[in-house]
Amino acid sequence: MRFPLLWFLVVIIALGFSAEAWAHPGHPHPVEEVDEFDDEAFMSALVHPFTGLDHLVVMLAVGAASFLSRRLLGTCFLGAMSVGVASGFASPTWLLALSVAMAGSLLLLKDPGPAKTWQWVLVAVIGFWQGGGHGAQGSSLEAGMGLFVGTAAGIWLGAAVARLLQARSSIATSIAGASVVVAGLSVTVIRLFPG
């Protein structure tokens, strides 16, 4: 058990440092111009959360936290993300990296019980920032729906993975959370101080 977990840790951290693995890499992007006549808007928004670790890891972590706490943290995340998308707040990439670390911290609890107030708040903040990161992708109804469905699927996947991991080892999710926190914080620092 120890070696697969160790490898898992190594892979997550290594991927965390790879700019190509992030949907929003560190260099600045112009605001994406969403073409509402594009038939692919729904599908491209649907898969967008799965195209980079910054969104994927957060969805999985929130799903896992929902499973561990037996509360609808995922629903809270989806609501906050929708608000973030609609708000027009453009999350800078370092904030997205920080939200990855914060999502990892949700899994660090030694004795995960029902979600506490700070966890709900944390999930809402993460969701808002992630929604801001999705930015213009949600400006059309089709794209917004795609983003919502894709993210919901990712959260469900996170809950399923947490269930599998917990069945094998009670500390597996904590180890995964710790590696996510390390990768998220490291990338946050790199993006804040690129020099």
Binding site: P28, H29, P30, E33, D35, E36, F37
Partner: protein, 152 residues
Amino acid sequence: MTKIVRSMAAERSLRPECEQVRLLVERFLFLKRRWQGLAEDGTKFEFDLESRLKNGCVIHRTDQADYVIVQREERVFQVATPTAEQAALVGWKIGNLHFPVQIVEGFLRVTVDPMVETLLKRENWPYEEISVTFQPLRLPPEAVVPPPVEGS
């Protein structure tokens, strides 16, 4: 009274300019389905579009005039690209910053942005800042040409 527009009436107006009423819009509105606009004579339009509008198209007709959509000009960098290789290189480097470009004979246009300006200065490429009706490249699905069949 508000007019509701669901599609363009014609790609171009055949009437003389004095019988055309303009509705000036920003470029990004051509990408949106639902929006509102005010023509120069004060007529209000609500758009709930089934298909894309084009710059210069007629959106409404009366006995007196054609109402025509006109895209506003915007500030762009116009980069000289005398050869195809130069154009490909400039297009690739600007595309790497995720900015859309417009290709015109001998030039490449991109919206004004500090990132692009830094690139142009760093590479020492000649450019000027001008105001034009910017129409960046888009690749509609029908523009994707299948590769030629071998032997044909």
